[in-house]
Symmetry: C2
Subunit: 451 residues, 2 copies
């Protein structure tokens, strides 16, 4: 038979079983946390009509899209979860209740240049709260609490949520006479962390005709140690600015009530998150020990989710985690908790008798007790069986020989410590369940290089 | 602004929030059950290289495939989870341990003619056990136990697992001199349930030159009340046949030990499950009250999972549930348990004070206690708020007014009974958790038309 070489496309993450289990754990923390905050799971199609998916897209994004025809249909794979959400809310508007809170953890597709750590198929994990006509500011204050709960739930401590408000930036530009070059100024300021204050000022002055003293003023305000204090002198001069300061103040004030410790968030007036979409609070989240990764959870407030599909005003606020990339980074950095079991089963049941019925009954009892049990019945030597147990890293092996069966016990071997004990058959599932719960009690991530 | 009409492609299931929650429950039962049996979750790419995905395909399947190019790459969307598994096992053979037990619940794509209840994007939920060179028969006996546990876990009682062995069919054909027309005979027999014995015999005799008395004999054996008994007279005449009978006998014998009640399975010698792939035990599962749906869980034993990619012999046994179609049918038949909560949250927290901090603190405490809490702060009239609670069908509403805050309590309203009581703030999360657990205790499916 002529054979085809088995391969997986480059840019497509395909994990080995142990890694996949680690990935699932991360995903479960995300889903579980989102649900605690009252977000409902959604699952929209991967394929949409091109004219629907590309109603808004353009430029770089459009080039990356997987687009094709099937029969007469012009189709495309979703490249994010926001456009499908906009379509969903516009399409099902009458059947939904607002505020509509949904989360979606799903694969999206972008035909980017293949590159280490860049993926063409990757999971995004999004939450959004959508209002019908209006949406209370408290929703913007709750988002950092969700980010905080998500990341601490994963086991991370060394991260910081950065918050800004787009109305403040736009207002500042207006007050300083920079409205015309606002986009250019914003893009330049976005480079502050990368190229430093001096170069940013040079670009502002030389390329975008910002007067030197205005650039100084702007840079001083945006980088002030007490940002909210530094904004005071501009108040009363621009309505949008004043509203932005008020919103940001409200968000910061309620963060404490939401349980976010002060050292886990910071107002950062340099954050913009793109030019067009966001209109209020914006968020970024950085890993303090891995700033090179950039923001691992970003988003913000927008005024018009679905303007390309409906004339209904649908303001919202949302955040997105690039889950595949985050997982890749955590793995590369050795931050995945190695103590958590990654085996497909909690116990490997090894029958040592001709009649397999007692072993089958034991495995069945384990499963009824919520213990993941695998029955191993391949006719191999004992050593090969134990080798298998080692390789799948199963935490416990249960031996059921003539002696055990006769005495109504199972010999349970803890594969980590090597300790072995006989436990009554009816006690064994509970015994195992308890040990397994203790083994799995840690968080998916363990920070190793704390400062 | 020019608007695009929001729409979802036909043949693509997109659920409203309450339905999606019902779907998630079904999916969780499947995943949870598979894990209890020691299957590890896998997640392979939706897109594969066409030459890899189509190494085996042909005919009807190939026509249905979503295939396209991106740059220089000839790509296709997976149309099942078996081919990606074969690729995965061939590609990662050295890094896996055998028997390799994996489950995958994922979307697959087939551009079928759009039709009510037929989907172009649908979930399959597959489990497979793959051996390296050989695989013990006990794995074939365990599969019906997994089917049984899965379906009873969903809440179904009225189903039956039908079992056959392909070696018996092939052996019978050899013994009766029908090997040459085996494929035609098998396809015809497959129609027994649909067109009846008389017509099947006519086709066998007239179209496929089966002698009348041979057709009678074959039909008598295949439909015998005691199938294993009826096979006795053929023993000792064909090696494959004898092995098939032995395997089937072993599988049936161990089914009891695996906890499958006798009335939930039946040997059915007419089951073939396609012509080429399966080589041993084959399975079908039918809903007794909905035979028109056909098999809702099918599969079997095969000898060569990945022969298109590797010369390694990789026998296995697996089953597949067409999850999207199953869910669609359950919904159509009104079998989804209406008593289970489908709201995004367990409790809707309604602050009735100017300062939102107490309400925020209460919601935070609920979440810390594992209760899904949504804070509702939109400036709406009381009636509109209660309307919202009704529409999302939240089971509990928590009122926090001046009185409650002053007295350190929350007024908790049970939205089903209308009963309302004041519970101390520190007791409330536990109080809610208990009630919620009771509400969610049922199975996702409730059979309504038991005979």
């Amino acid at each position: 038979m002529e054979r085809v070489k088995a391969r997986t496309l480059s840019g497509f993450m395909e994990l080995l079983p142990a890694q996949q289990n680690q990935f699932e754990r991360v995903r479960e923390v995300l889903a579980g946390t989102y649900e605690l905050y009252g977000f409902t799971p959604l699952d929209t199609p991967v394929i949409e009509a091109s004219e629907v998916l590309l109603a808004k897209a353009g430029g770089e994004t459009e080039k990356q899209i997987y687009r094709f025809t099937k029969g007469d249909s012009d189709l495309a794979l979703r490249f994010d979860l926001t456009v499908p959400l906009a379509k969903y809310v516009a399409l099902h508007h009458n059947e939904l209740s607002f505020p509509f809170r949904r989360y979606q953890i799903g694969k999206v597709y972008r035909g980017e240049r293949a590159q280490r750590g860049r993926f063409r198929e990757f999971y995004q994990a999004d939450i959004d709260v959508i209002g019908d006509g209006s949406l209370d500011i408290i929703n913007e204050a709750e988002i950092p609490a969700i980010i905080y709960k998500t990341f601490t739930g994963l086991g991370l401590e060394r991260f910081r949520i950065r918050i800004n408000n787009r109305k403040i930036l736009n207002g500042l530009f207006a007050i300083l006479g920079l409205t015309q070059q606002a986009g250019d100024v914003m893009r330049t300021i976005d480079k502050l962390e990368k190229i430093g204050e001096e170069k940013v000022k040079a670009i502002l002055v030389e390329d975008f005709a910002v007067p030197g003293e205005v650039a100084d003023k702007l840079l001083a305000v945006l980088q002030a140690g007490d940002p909210l204090g530094a904004l005071e002198e501009f108040r009363g001069r621009d309505e949008g600015f004043d509203r932005g300061v008020e919103e940001l103040t409200t968000v910061v004030r309620y963060l404490g009530a939401f349980g976010v410790p002060g050292d886990h968030f910071a107002v950062d007036l340099t954050i913009a998150r793109g030019l067009d979409y966001y209109t209020g609070t914006v968020y970024e989240t950085v890993l303090l020990d891995h700033p090179e990764v950039g923001s691992v959870c970003s988003g913000g407030r927008y005024d018009n989710l679905a303007e390309y599909y409906t004339d209904k005003q649908l303001p919202g606020v949302g955040i997105s985690i690039g889950l595949t990339r985050l997982f890749y980074v955590l793995q590369e950095q050795g931050m995945l908790n190695p103590d958590l079991p990654t085996a497909p089963a909690d116990v490997l049941v090894l029958p040592m008798t001709e009649d397999l019925s007692p072993a089958i009954a034991f495995a069945t009892a384990c499963r009824a007790g919520g213990v993941r049990a695998q029955l191993y019945t391949e006719p191999k030597k004992f050593k090969a069986k134990m080798n298998y147990a080692d390789k799948i890293a199963v935490p416990f092996v249960a031996f059921l020989g003539e002696d055990e069966v006769a005495n109504g016990v199972a010999s349970l071997k803890d594969m980590r410590s090597g300790a072995q004990e006989k436990v009554a058959l009816d006690q064994a599932p509970g015994w195992l369940k308890e040990k397994i719960a203790a083994l799995g009690a840690g968080t998916p991530i363990r920070e190793t290089d704390r400062e």
